[in-house]
């Protein structure tokens, strides 16, 4: 069963002579319960794919299927009950004037839940934040705590697919590991499907079973994680990328 399938996805910005093709004919499939990684350099279009899937970028064409259903350009609330996203920068993804409680209860209210109070407590518990964090404002939280709140918000509608847009790149290394482990635990617990964008190959290696490599808006290769670990990719660019990452970490 495919949780997410994307066929011939084109995404562009601007019109006429200013048009920039950010993603060209991207095709990939993600099985239910799997974790799929997308890697590439900055500007290769990996985040753009996620934003097009969620509808934050309206200028796309191609076929997107979520849970076996076709996705229209205008998405309804049912779509957002299935697919949620965690953003890269936890400092920018929380409203500076809304407390944790406000963020979560508004989300729950929008999705029509009734037992909001109990659910807010449950969500905070899920992401490892105690009840003392409930009424804090973002400026009273650290980066890692903010990202936990953002994850709780994404989990609030009980989605099946979680899109992760470099969820740890704005955090320092020890906090990164905590958040990645939290995400792995949550995936097992809630039977989530992950699509994770990252430029960090070790993060993807830790989290994902399958990896797509992007270059200049094109998906040059989709390989499983063993191929990546064994350093035996088919495409020249992937080889290059893997070698570069080895040099970097050595």
């Amino acid at each position: 069963m495919k949780a997410l399938s994307v066929r011939n996805l084109d995404v562009w910005f601007g019109v006429g002579r200013d048009q920039v093709d950010a993603v060209k004919r991207a095709t990939f499939y993600v099985n239910a319960g799997a974790s799929f990684g997308i890697v590439g350099e900055s500007g290769s279009g990996k985040s753009t794919i996620l934003r097009a899937v969620t509808g934050l970028i309206p200028t796309w064409s191609g076929e997107i299927e979520v849970d076996g259903r076709h996705v229209q350009h205008k998405r309804g609330r049912e779509f957002y009950k299935l697919v949620q996203m965690v953003f890269q920068d936890p400092y920018a993804s929380l409203h500076p004037r809304h407390s944790v409680d406000q963020v979560l209860s508004e989300t729950l209210q929008l999705h029509g839940f009734k037992d909001i109070d109990a659910r807010v407590r449950g969500l905070l518990d899920d992401v490892g934040l105690g009840p003392s964090f409930r009424f804090r404002y973002p400026h009273q939280l650290s980066g890692g705590q903010r990202q936990r709140v953002a994850i709780a918000r994404a989990l609030a509608p009980e989605p099946k697919i979680l899109l992760l847009d470099e969820p740890t790149s704005a955090l320092d290394v020890s906090v990164q590991a905590e958040i990645l482990n939290l995400l792995n635990d949550l995936r097992a617990e809630h039977k989530l499907t992950f699509v994770m964008v990252s430029h960090d190959l070790s993060v993807v290696g830790h989290m994902c079973e399958e990896v797509a490599v992007m270059k200049d808006g094109e998906m040059v290769e989709v390989m499983d994680i063993e191929t990546m670990r064994a350093m035996t990719p088919r495409h020249e660019y992937t080889k290059h990328l893997l070698e570069a990452s080895l040099n970097y970490s050595a």
Binding site: T54, L56, G76, R77, Y80, Q84, M85, F87, Q88, D89, Y91, A92, S93, L94, H95, P96, R97, H98, S99, D101, Q102, E106, T107, L110, H111, S132, F133, F135, R136, Y137, H139, Q140, A150, R153, A156, P157
Partner: protein, 310 residues
């Protein structure tokens, strides 16, 4: 004062307000409000302005008890008494009315004008600006060109034209001032909206299926309002001066109403021989305008969301 000698209760109240782990929605609101107040209190100039405005409120509220004379009572034998004369601290005007009493009653008119304008102009500007900024496209173009047209007129001249069309009087003066005062707020709100609308937290709430009305009112307004409040307090001086200017030109408050601008205009005829008749209400306008400016400056330090990131 409880601030200087903290008793156990006041100490625990302070702790309750300053805690980093609020226990309820209301607690969190009170705490963040209290922290803002502490920051404002450390700005002495702002507190000075704040004190003057509290004084103005007090004077306006208790005018009948504070005023030594009836502000409308004319006594031609006592006309143009100098400052500090017996029974008339600020002297009397050309019809023998006590200037201090007129000032005290005039504070009510000033507050009335300021409050009404502050309720109309920023709200109109906020609506126009946020809708234009969030909707973009043709809505933005049309709304902002209308704003530009209003901005292109000199304020007082436009207000004059409105008052001339609507008829003289305080309510019409308020309307006229509001009509000329909203465009800068619309500009400000639009600029703020443009920076906010592409931020991740707006994307995040869109992913929860929130509609544009909810996004504008719940997520964009709270961020625009602080800069608008700052701007309004800083503009208050200008609003008072425009109101006074209209009064001075005879198009605002009508005699015998003790509006400060109208009082200056009456005193203008005697300004060489009897300077205090025009000077005293002028000083009152100056003091209140200065108070608003000082407070606005302090509020900017407290409310500016750009400083809160740290």
């Amino acid at each position: 004062m409880t601030d200087t000698t903290p008793t156990p209760e006041s100490q625990s109240l302070r702790d309750w307000l300053l805690t980093d782990t609020p226990t309820s929605r209301r607690h969190a609101k009170f705490a963040s409000f209290y922290k803002g107040w502490l920051r404002l209190r450390s700005n002495h100039m702002a507190m000075f302005g704040f004190a003057i405005l509290i004084g103005l409120l007090f004077v306006a509220a208790f005018a009948p008890w504070l005023a030594p004379h009836d502000p409308y009572y004319q006594e031609l034998s006592n006309r143009l008494l100098p400052i500090w004369s017996e029974g008339h601290v600020f002297g009397t005007d050309s019809l023998g009315r006590d200037i201090l009493s007129r000032l005290i009653y005039g504070s009510r008119i000033t507050l009335y004008i300021v409050t009404l304008v502050a309720m109309i102009a920023p709200v109109a500007g906020l609506l126009v600006g946020t809708i234009a900024g969030y909707a973009g496209g043709w809505t933005d173009v049309i709304l902002m060109r209308i704003t530009d047209i209003f901005l292109a007129f000199p304020k007082l001249v436009l207000a004059l034209a409105f008052v001339a069309a609507l008829g003289a009087g305080i309510e019409n003066a308020v309307l006229a001032i509001s009509l000329t005062a909203w465009p800068p707020y619309a500009r400000l709100a639009r600029a703020e909206t443009l920076t906010i609308r592409s931020s991740d937290f707006i994307s995040a709430i869109k992913l929860q299926g929130a509609g544009p009305i909810r996004i504008i009112t719940r997520h964009i307004w709270p961020l625009c309002i602080s800069s608008l409040i700052i701007r309004v307090t800083l503009d208050m001086a200008g609003i008072i001066l425009t109101a006074a200017g209209l009064g001075f030109l005879g198009l605002g408050a009508q005699p015998p109403s003790p509006e400060w601008g109208a009082m200056i205009s009456e005193g203008r005829r005697f300004i060489l021989d009897h300077w205090w008749v025009a000077t005293v209400p002028g000083l009152a306008i100056f003091t209140v305008s200065l108070a608003f400016n000082l407070l606005g400056d302090g509020l900017r330090d407290v409310l500016d969301p750009k400083d809160e990131k740290s």
